[in-house]
């Protein structure tokens, strides 16, 4: 019998989490048991994404690729390690336990330093969820108590300081930035790039104070609040809030006390095997000092975690180089650098393109023969970054200038990338892994990942900081073209245009008839692809009755009968129940209709009731009863809004903070009948417990104590996706404005049958672009999108009520033209669990099943 080894990990940040996950993945035999001691009360989370938390309380939890069974991995959240005994192999904890280990991994990260200046006790930092949550609430609180925008002074003009200043400004604070260097990001950027960045940041309304540092913090007389920050150059900046983001201090205090060797500038010294000076103790992540320095980036932390996992199982993996490529994640500010960006290599040449007017600066550093790429730096337009970073150290196929997009270059083709090029440095994914996954090599079940979402999920590429996503997409497209799966956007043989182009054409020309559209822009008679697409495009722009004006024949199966066609040719009927709310009286009507027409009933996944087994000619009779009782079409058949799922919210639930049902009903009544590239669903939850599963919907709305968080791009189905937070804490009206814009933008630009999740993934700029369009109106489309939606709302008409009013339309609902009284002889029924269903093929062959038309024939067991 083998004994299980105890592996202790101190620190539940990205490095500790990754080490546990990597160890589980490499240790299927369960030779190790893992305990993660994690001081923060939150489950391990992605610190890289911390600034998202400035918007609202999004969940940043890291997800493991492996299953963490409590017998094999335990995470002790809210527990700190207080001392280490390297000889006795134990660790003491803040809850007075002494935990034994066979091997120990130090992943304690860093803290954010605060200088010892007068008033320092009022300085805040930007490092943890608690820090950021506090800042967010404080800005809100100050705005109310001061009655004006609070003033925030941020010290530190590096990546973190910029994120902090940008985040505070986005919350409505008046931010200024104090930086001791002569230009922003002076550790990564040269003067030209730093100055270009300075102009971009100043253009965002953030005041810059360069070449100086805070000297003291001035307080109110009672010392309870900040009033100003005095700088070393004598200037006094009025302030209500002071945040320092001036670097990182490795959390090496436990290691020091345990006698482990520390680096010259702090941090626990490790070798290429990630071992510290004590053989059974490893160190990874920001706390590890490799070749004399600690690195404040997640890529080396992940790489070290993988090395340790391998070493713990007796492997020989090595950590050899620190990849310190960085890209700033600040909306609307494009900055990135990689490799020897400052050109310190002997004989290095710099190829620079600078355009101060446009605020663009791009530079490549190459060897003296201009053949090998050594590094690069981008401000204002970092589009070549994703493509060039993996080519670090590789030969350039063209002269360097050709790679600078600002100078009109195209950048390299993705086929130029060697297989071994590192595409995703956060997760250490090379080009060949991505190429293989596209071709179904090494993926679960050999399934080819031919879309971006699944490709990211399956390879992990692009899943952390996201800066390589454009490149992953490029590789995907190149591979698809190579394997003959062209990415042609043409709708079908009849139209060379994509859905989006057709949408624009219809919008601009105002054409409303298929015949005109196909004779002008297409060929032939159309087909089951272009006809419903054009019908939908016309419907979402002109809101006419979908079976009117020669459009009936364009409609897809279900739209044609305003019901859902089932496998035996009968239909199912779903009345709308906005927000899943229904009165007992209306329930009784549904029950009676189902009884009278012999329909099978089932509750749908969308909080409504589906009645199955109606024949075409029964649909008008059924709907007459439903419409008379106040129901309307639920459009369960259309590529349109299905339903808005909601929980009971604050009306009944003891946790609820907003009235989720009222909001759901309001949204459903607003967007009902709206036709889109695909069906879409909404959800509204009354608090963060999320009982309505709103994040699994195209638009998810989750109540906060200040308003609503709006999530976009979620969906269920065979490739489920969680929605992303678009904006937080919205009031009712702004929420609706943003949904109007979001949905109309999707309807305009989505591909045929493309759900919102895929639409956003495929779009250049993804979520950020959508945010810009919806919130900042970057394309100047907001008015158009809103008025298109207003038109929809104004012209909405229940399709079934309209059908029932018009004898010409009703004529379409007949089973046999020549025998209107005849029931469809193919709709047989057999009993099951006190209801009826169609017979299986075997039962049909055996002559089982009775013909059932309306309530005319009662069903009996054994029929």
């Amino acid at each position: 019998m083998t004994t299980t080894r105890e592996v202790l990990i101190i620190g539940g940040g990205p490095a500790g989490h990754r080490a546990a996950d990597a160890l589980r993945a490499r240790d299927p035999e369960l030779a190790t048991r893992i305990t993660v001691i994690s001081e923060e009360i939150h489950a391990p989370y992605d610190r890289v994404a911390l600034s998202q938390r400035m918007e609202s309380s999004v969940d940043l939890s890291l997800t493991a690729q492996t299953e963490w069974h409590p017998d094999h991995v335990s995470v002790l959240s809210g527990v700190a390690a207080t001392s280490i005994d390297p000889i006795g192999h134990t660790v003491e904890t803040s809850d007075d336990r002494r935990l034994p280990f066979d091997q120990l991994v130090m992943a304690t990260g860093s803290s954010a330093p605060v200088p010892d200046i007068p008033g320092a006790e009022h300085i805040r930092v930007y490092r943890t969820i608690d820090d950021v949550d506090w800042l967010r609430d404080e800005v809100a609180r100050l705005s109310v108590s001061l009655g004006r925008a609070p003033r925030a002074v941020v010290a530190g003009g590096g990546l973190l300081g910029l994120e902090a200043a940008g985040g505070l400004a986005a919350r409505g604070a008046e931010s200024s930035l104090v930086h001791s260097g002569p230009w922003l990001m002076s550790a990564q950027l040269d003067q030209g790039a730093g100055q270009a960045l300075g102009r971009v940041i100043a253009g965002k309304g953030i005041a810059l104070h360069l070449g100086t540092r805070p000297r003291d913090i001035q307080l109110t007389d009672d010392g309870s609040a900040v009033t100003a920050v005095r700088l070393a150059n004598g200037q006094v900046l009025p302030a209500d809030l002071v945040v320092f983001a001036i670097g990182i201090t490795p959390r090496d205090e436990l290691a020091a006390a345990a006698g482990l060797e520390l680096g010259p500038r702090g941090g626990i010294v490790i070798g290429t095997d990630c071992r510290t000076s004590s053989p059974d103790i490893f160190a990874i992540g920001e706390v590890a000092s490799f070749e004399g320095r600690c690195t404040g980036l997640v890529a080396p932390a992940n790489a070290m975690a993988e090395v340790v996992a391998d070493r713990l199982l007796g492997g020989f993996a090595e950590f050899t180089t620190v990849d310190d490529a960085t890209k700033l994640k600040l909306a609307g500010v494009d900055v990135a650098s990689f490799g020897d960006a400052l050109g310190t290599t002997e004989g290095a040449l710099e190829v620079v393109y600078a355009d101060p007017v446009r605020g663009v600066y791009q530079k490549l550093v190459v060897t003296d023969d201009a053949k090998t790429l050594l590094g690069g730096m981008f401000v204002g337009d970092a589009s070549p970054y994703a493509m060039l970073r993996p080519m670090l150290g590789a030969a350039l196929g063209d002269e360097p200038g050709a790679y600078l997009s600002a100078a009109g270059g195209d950048g390299p083709a993705s086929s130029e990338l060697p297989d071994s090029a590192l595409v995703c440095s956060c997760n250490n994914i090379e080009a060949h892994t991505i190429r293989d996954a596209v071709n179904g090599i090494g993926t679960p079940d050999g399934e080819a990942c031919t879309e971006l979402g699944p490709l990211k999920a399956c390879t992990r590429a692009g899943a952390q900081c996201g800066s390589c996503v454009p490149l992953v997409k490029k590789i995907l497209e190149t591979e698809l073209v190579k394997s003959g799966q062209t990415v042609s956007k043409a709708l079908c043989e009849h139209f060379p245009l994509s859905r989006q182009e057709l949408y624009e054409t219809v919008r601009v020309t105002g054409l409303t008839s298929f015949d005109e559209i196909i004779s002008t822009y297409g060929t032939g008679r159309g087909c089951d692809i272009c006809k419903p697409t054009i019908a939908s495009v016309i419907a979402s722009q002109h809101q006419g009755y979908i079976l009117g004006e020669g459009r009936a024949g364009l409609q897809d199966t279900n739209d044609r009968a305003l019901a859902n066609l089932q496998r035996d040719g009968s239909y199912s009927v779903v009345p709308r129940m906005p927000g899943g709310e229904v009165t007992p009286q209306k329930l009784a009507v549904i029950a009676q209709v189902a009884i009278d027409f012999g329909l099978y009933t089932k509750i749908t996944g969308g909080q409504r009731i589906d009645m199955f087994g109606a024949s075409l000619d029964q649909l008008p009779e059924i709907w007459k009863r439903l419409v008379d009782a106040g129901f309307e079409s639920g459009q369960a058949y259309g590529k349109a809004l299905r339903n808005v799922k909601s929980c009971v919210g604050s009306t009944w639930c003891r946790f609820g903070v907003q009235d989720a049902v009222a909001m759901a009903v309001r949204l459903e009544l607003r967007y009902r009948g709206l036709r889109a590239p695909h069906k879409f669903k909404f959800g509204v939850s009354g608090c963060a417990r999320e009982c309505a599963e709103a994040r699994g919907k195209d638009v998810g709305v989750i109540a906060t104590d200040k308003g609503w968080n709006m999530y976009v791009g979620g969906n269920g189905g065979y490739q489920p996706a969680h929605g992303h937070l678009l904006v937080g804490d919205l009031d009712d009206e702004t929420l609706i404005t943003y949904i109007d814009r979001y949905m109309m933008y999707y309807i305009r630009t989505g591909d045929r049958l493309q759900r919102t999740a895929r639409w956003m993934e495929e779009m250049e700029g993804g979520l950020e672009h959508v945010y810009d369009v919806v919130v900042n109106d970057s394309l100047g489309l907001a008015d158009e999108l809103e008025s298109a939606m207003a038109k929809h709302v104004e012209n909405y008409e229940d399709e079934w009520a309209a059908t029932l009013r018009d004898p010409e339309r009703l004529r379409r609902f007949r089973t046999f033209v020549n025998a209107p009284e005849e029931a469809d002889p193919s709709h047989l029924r057999v009993p099951e669990r006190d209801q009826v269903r169609p017979p299986t093929d075997e039962e049909r062959a055996a002559g089982k099943g009775v013909l059932l038309s309306g309530s005319r024939i009662p069903v009996r067991e054994g029929a």
Partner: protein, 121 residues
């Protein structure tokens, strides 16, 4: 008298011409079903002088639904797509275009004095 005949496709030049319905019952590009001697037949009028009659049964699922499919074209071939799983058939011959293993029935049809007739085998 107007008379329109679609190309008879199967070899069925013999058989009985049976009255199906009034021509005015049919709208262009919208299929309807008639029940003739126990057979479900889909009638598809493309224009005033182009009419097709095919079996209403979808060969893939066995359901009687073909008349409710979308009418269109492939190259020069007039087509109908099954509303269930979208297999496409040649309206003139009933031959499966997306899956040659499948085929729908097809019948000669005509309009005589405003009355639709189908020739049953």
């Amino acid at each position: 008298m107007t008379m329109t005949t679609s190309a008879p496709v199967t070899d069925a030049t013999t058989g009985t011409w049976t009255v199906a319905c009034a021509g005015a019952e049919l709208e262009p590009l919208w299929g309807e079903t008639v029940l003739l001697a126990g057979r479900q037949i889909a009638l598809i009028k493309l224009s005033d002088d182009e009419l097709y009659a095919v079996g209403n049964q979808d060969p893939h699922t066995g359901a009687f639904v073909m008349a409710r499919g979308i009418v269109g074209s492939r190259g020069d071939i007039p087509t109908i797509a099954s509303p269930l799983h979208k297999e496409v058939y040649d309206l003139r011959t009933g031959a499966g275009l997306s899956n040659p293993a499948l085929r729908i029935d097809s019948y000669p049809s005509r309009i005589v004095d405003g009355v639709v007739e189908v020739q049953l085998p």
